[in-house]
């Protein structure tokens, strides 16, 4: 484990939704808190995100959703991560996700889900703990 290296996080949106206020602000917060951010922007497919994650050697992927597309895309992304044997990369979600879907997503293997109104320090603390967990 690279204890002293900066952790790299790939951030991006999947599908056609282009509401990106949240992910842009979170990207800034992560940068300011000492993470490295690879910003993939909008309109990613699960395939393109996984490819970028492998190329960039990231420690986590963070995706943001708004319009109800979170289950469709997260299932695909996780299948693909398993298929490519990169399931060690942590998966984090954010955005408008109804409470009843949060458990289902966690059961699928999502490490954290940050819904609207999550405080900056909560996010940073959760990520720091996530990367410090024993393997």
């Amino acid at each position: 484990m690279e204890k002293y290296g900066k952790k790299r996080i790939l951030l991006g949106k999947m599908g056609l939704d282009a509401h990106d206020n949240g992910i842009v602000v979170v990207a800034k917060w992560l940068l300011d808190s000492g993470f490295e951010v690879v910003y993939a922007g909008l309109y990613n497919s699960p395939e393109s995100l996984v490819q970028t994650a492998i190329q960039e050697g990231v420690d986590a992927i963070g995706c943001s959703f708004l319009g109800g597309e979170h289950l469709y895309y997260t299932r695909r992304l996780i299948d693909l991560m398993n298929e490519k044997h990169i399931d060690k990369i942590k998966l984090i979600l954010g955005g408008v996700i109804p409470p009843e879907d949060v458990n289902e997503l966690k059961n699928l293997g999502v490490a954290h889900i940050f819904t609207p109104g999550t405080l900056r320090d909560t996010i940073i603390e959760a990520l720091n703990n996530l990367f410090n967990e024993p393997e």
């Binding site: 282009a18 602000v25 609207p116 109104g117």
Partner: protein
């Protein structure tokens, strides 16, 4: 260990029991007290140029604003049911939102579209969808706003005109609006969002085609609606919202004049769609300032003679940015206050954002509550019984002047840089938006912008549950299959001919109005995606997935 943000913020507040600053959301300082000295110049009457106090003499005494809740989800049939429900509880206008693949001109069976079909609006692909969507709705009696931007707006308007023709409704009797603004309609003017699936310059050209076509054939139809709401929701402030929107409108006015159209022919059919955020007086002042500035621009710069050309007519939506997922019932209070600001600001129609906004599309219950909010203000509070009741308030008149001054300053910066479209292409707009988003994040963390139940007085024990609209995976699969079947089972030759005709027209004479050619393709059974892909090919634009 770092102290929790909320505790820090709460601690500092409770110490003095004071708000964190005395500024408007856009940073204008509120004075301790306003006096008659703050009011300069004579106050004109409502209905008088430059219409600070309202575009009509009698305003809501003559007629209330239109209650116009956005709706649209899954199929056209289901959206039609929701429209009828809304009308049955007192909605007075329709506000129809298509899904994301429709916005971006992709068919449901496109691999890039499949996860988003029917989620944020209704899936509208072929003429039959339009027929289903407006079944039993009289197109010449209820005004209908269609929330769709160019280039998709060209196909949607073609479907709509064909629907009217089939029903025997003359085009000159159609009442409603096609929003049609490619710079703002999708999610506001963020660069990647609106340039990935279609080039913006040609989208503007198609928007102008729609405007030109409609103004000559449907004189009661609103040809464009500048979506200031979406501009605001990217995180910018009231001054930027107003200046960006007014700059975009000027870009369109100039280009329509270049096409040889008389300003007084088309300007009365240009509308706006504003945000109403949570800073009560600033939002009212913003609407008043926008009316004043637009009237002067139209009269002095574009030499309009008809007063209607000078009217800043605006729909509005109460901003969703202040709404929270924490303690969602608080949103009912917020939206109620925002709706009151819209009414005191003298808008023409209102969408009151649902308290479930931070979770999903509105449920029927939430939709009804939004309409009830407006009805309570309209029928119970008496605020509508006198025109511009806040006119003459020292504070409001001063704030209106200050906003006007700052909006004009920013407008000048944009105009000096070559207009809004140029600023957008130069990424200047993007830079402004990004800065404001970072600021938004800062203000949230520092508590300079308090959000009750979130960064102030947060209650981790709260477990309020509200019912939430659910999507259906099964429906998505059916819809995708339906379009695949449609493409298989139709008469192919006329469609091929129509699409080739369109492609060749755009390739040979890209400046020519393309609405007739699009209408032919729609009538023959072509889909939205096929039509737009023909245009994309003609202008050598390669979209993702092709």
């Amino acid at each position: 260990m770092k102290e929790k943000e909320t505790m820090k913020i709460e601690g500092s507040y409770l110490e003095g029991e004071r708000v964190p600053n005395f500024k408007t959301l856009s940073g204008i300082e509120y004075k301790e007290v306003y006096t008659p000295e703050d009011v300069t110049g004579a106050l004109e009457l409502p209905g008088d140029y430059p219409f600070t106090r309202g575009i009509h003499k009698t305003m809501y005494r003559g007629r209330l604003w239109t209650r116009r809740q956005q709706s649209g989800y899954r199929s056209a049939e289901e959206s039609n049911e929701r429209i009828k429900y809304l009308l049955s509880v007192g909605q007075t206008g329709i506000n129809m939102d298509p899904d994301l693949p429709t916005h971006l001109a992709l068919d449901p069976d496109d691999p890039l579209a499949q996860g988003d079909v029917g989620l944020q609006g209704s899936s509208l692909v072929i003429l039959d969808d339009m027929i289903d969507l407006y079944r039993d709705i009289p197109l010449d009696q209820i005004s209908n706003t269609m929330i769709v931007e160019a280039p998709t707006s060209a196909v949607i308007i073609a479907q709509y005109l064909l629907l009217a023709r089939r029903r025997g409704t003359p085009w000159e009797k159609l009442i409603g609006t096609i929003m049609n603004c490619p710079l703002t309609q999708f999610v506001g003017p963020t660069y990647q969002a609106i340039t990935t699936f279609f080039p913006i310059e040609y989208a503007v050209k198609i928007a102008l085609d729609v405007m030109e076509y409609m103004i000559q054939r449907a004189p009661r139809w609103n040809i464009v609606n500048i979506n200031a709401y979406n501009i605001r929701e990217t995180g910018v402030n009231a001054i930027q919202e107003a200046a960006f929107a007014l700059a975009i409108a000027q870009d369109y006015v100039r280009r329509l004049i270049e096409r040889g159209l008389e300003v007084d022919v088309f300007a009365p059919r240009i509308g706006f769609f504003s945000a109403v955020h949570i800073d009560f007086f600033e939002e009212i002042a913003k609407l008043r300032a926008m009316r004043r500035i637009w009237a002067r621009i139209m009269k002095e710069k574009f030499r309009a003679k008809n007063e209607r050309s000078m009217w800043f007519r605006t729909a509005c939506q109460t901003s969703a940015l202040p709404l929270t997922a924490q303690e969602p019932l608080n949103n009912i209070v917020r939206a109620g206050i925002q709706t009151l600001a819209a009414v005191l600001g003298g808008v023409q129609s209102i969408h009151t954002t649902g308290y479930d906004e931070a979770f999903s599309l509105p449920t029927e219950e939430s939709h009804k509550l939004s309409i009830r909010t407006q009805q309570i203000i309209a029928y119970e509070t008496s605020v509508v019984k006198s025109v511009d009741p806040l006119g003459g308030s020292y504070l409001l008149e001063r704030l209106t002047d200050e906003l006007e001054e700052q909006i004009l300053e920013l407008l000048k910066v944009i105009e000096d840089r070559g207009g809004f479209l140029q600023c957008f292409l130069d990424r200047w707009v993007e830079d402004q938006i990004t800065k404001m988003r970072y600021q938004l994040g800062e203000n949230f963390v520092s508590g300079q912008q308090p959000v009750i139940g979130v960064n102030l007085f947060r209650d981790e024990r709260d477990s309020t549950k509200i019912s939430i609209f659910r999507h259906s995976d099964e429906w998505q699969r059916q819809r995708i299959q339906e379009i695949i079947d449609h493409k298989k089972n139709r008469r192919q030759e006329p469609i091929q001919r129509a699409l080739e005709g369109l492609e060749s027209q755009v390739r040979k004479t890209p400046e020519e109005n393309c609405i007739e050619a699009i209408m032919q393709a729609v009538e023959d059974g072509a889909t939205l995606g096929e039509i737009m892909d023909a245009i994309r090919r003609a202008i050598d634009f390669k979209r993702p997935g092709l």
